[in-house]
Symmetry: C2
Subunit: 444 residues, 2 copies
Amino acid sequence: MNPDAAGPPPRWAEIIAVGSELLVPPRLDTNSLFVTERLTDVGIEVRLKTVVGDCRSDLEEVFRHALARSEVIVLTGGLGPTDDDLTRDAVAAVLERPLVEDAAVIAAMRRRFASRGVRMPEVNRRQALVPDGAEVLENRLGTAPGLWIEHGGRVVILLPGPPGELMPLFDRVVLERLAPRVGADRVFRRVVKICGRTESDVEEVAFPVYAAWQREARPIQTTVLTAPGQVELHLSLRAPDAGVAAARLDAAVDEIVAVIGADVFSTDGLAMEEVVGHLLRQRGVRVAIAESCTGGLISSKLTDVPGSSDYVVCNSVCYSNEAKVRVLGVPEGLLREHGAVSPPVAIAMADAARALANTDIGVGVTGIAGPTGGTEQKPVGTVVIAVTTATTRTVCMFRFPFTRVRVKMFAAQMALDLIRRVLLGIKPAAAFVWRGGADQKPGS
Amino acid sequence: MNPDAAGPPPRWAEIIAVGSELLVPPRLDTNSLFVTERLTDVGIEVRLKTVVGDCRSDLEEVFRHALARSEVIVLTGGLGPTDDDLTRDAVAAVLERPLVEDAAVIAAMRRRFASRGVRMPEVNRRQALVPDGAEVLENRLGTAPGLWIEHGGRVVILLPGPPGELMPLFDRVVLERLAPRVGADRVFRRVVKICGRTESDVEEVAFPVYAAWQREARPIQTTVLTAPGQVELHLSLRAPDAGVAAARLDAAVDEIVAVIGADVFSTDGLAMEEVVGHLLRQRGVRVAIAESCTGGLISSKLTDVPGSSDYVVCNSVCYSNEAKVRVLGVPEGLLREHGAVSPPVAIAMADAARALANTDIGVGVTGIAGPTGGTEQKPVGTVVIAVTTATTRTVCMFRFPFTRVRVKMFAAQMALDLIRRVLLGIKPAAAFVWRGGADQKPGS
């Protein structure tokens, strides 16, 4: 990432997000994520990102420094019609180009307002002022057009702030203007998703693999991200064409699968609930879930997938012992003898769910989400998950040492993963396994 | 937000996040949100935020400019033990202070490693190098200490990148060092949450109220944020003490409630599921939910709240018509005559849920989450929600013109809101109401 590093001519970009509202605590500049991804895709790396308020002197200063440093400067926001919208003025001042009214922009804005049956407010004329020599990038979804300015070997791109307007406009800019001039190389990506291992376990096992990639002529970059019950390896590779990249990335994914094994559940970006949904549909089987501590989250995730009504019939959330007995028919003696959070109860719940909905697979999940209700033998975060079919029973006991909502998220993910493993005939996950007893650490 | 504006002496801060990993597409600098909030709390406004990679010349340049502009500069990250960690070196170079080894830092690091039974690696000595004259801010959760440097009327604060280390450390810095020197004024906040109105409706009705606040001697700033089925007004006020602020903000919240009415569901930061939970507990009533299109999401949200087992007994997710008939006992004739997405079926589901779980309140939710399954009379996004008690029936038909997962989120929020309204005896929400018919627009 060092701009001074040797290699093919580096091309660096900088993103400047404009707007005081982006500096108020709850707000975050998320446009830059999209812009970064698209630039990286065509092999332009983002060197710096700045968020600046509606203060002209600050904006001019930041833009002047960016212009001195980077070949591509993307400014987002500050293109509205009011006095607060300073991007056009600041850019024109730094580039020492006068602002001129663009007749085509005025005409497009008048048409836009007319189509809604209203007259264009005079204040909107400001949006037709462009630095002399700028090319207008048509914005089909709003009044503020984008601008493309070539200046002393630099490219300056002004984009409207609303994400819905910025995204399609910048996609066109990248496709039609940036990609052709960057040259042959583009960046290609692949995401490997893993369930059933901790981040450090994945890092330890996979590190030698991606360390070796770093030493190749075309190094594959690896970023590790985590979500509850999920570790993601984001691979990216700069290559001259999609064919070369696909071959290399396919092989790289295979190398990861070789060391991680069946804990890899997705290599094509699909979420766990999509992977499970595909397997259920493919095999023509239906699933029913009886949830306690997850409170409906497993069912909700599974039904986030379009078409899930093909394999989801009827799930239940039985929070109280009374409901487990009366609605599911879990024997009271089982609850008394083993407690609600126990393998026998989870299995009985799975069997009951299966019978109630007349499905092939039943899932029972019972646990202690917290913050209260834990004991020494079954501390907060203890969760038992059972998956049963007419002929098999698979049951796992986990401990998730997290807060209530995260316990739910981990348990839901591990439950979906256990359905996957049962469908594929592979052994349950090893991470977070809990065998009870106060002296035992989770995962051991 | 204009630094040149008149008023009490402005105090400006700038945040520089250091690390190439923050410039890779999926990553976002979220530390700056926390730092911004804490700074704003004590009346220091953030003027600029920069994300810079592990490139020393870029970092030095950005820091030099920040130092020329702002009184408080917070740098996060780049304090680790490796050669990539450049923040200490860059800051020392710009301030023209030599790096000196801090004996206390070395000793603390040695103790830290010893407590884990390992010897401190030599590479970690780098972390004990501090610019001459810097004060060390003890980091109880990691090896990299924070640093506090006073330089020519500026304050420079270096913080470790991991959020879990940065947050408690910066909290201490704000409390012990920044707040006392900022003077009397601090910023106080209040969040008003609204359900049952669109953002533009809220803006239209509330705008005159917060425009008037802007003209006061102590203006209240307003930021509008939205989430599915929810509009939030974030109010902030700079005031000399908590008492003055509370009195003014209480009155401001009252002004909002006066124009928005019972669509305001929270003025103390609580989420909808917490508000509903409080009401259920307060009244000693229990609820049962039969969900179709929301797939368990309502149940999951309700059980995100600790102690929800007091009022949640048993919920069901009946995705298929067969399940609605067999498990809930919805009459087949009702489904045939009115269709699954209809007020009679939603009411029958609510009544069945109530009977099955033996609760005071029943909720039935049925709809078309999409992307397929819509008709002209009942397009994708049509959702019927019924809340029944032994003596009352309240039913609403909505249309949410969104994608599948957002339809679920809106429907879940509106269902929880309808429970709230029934408990409080107030009329249902007006936004997104749908009376059917292909020529009618949602919300009309």
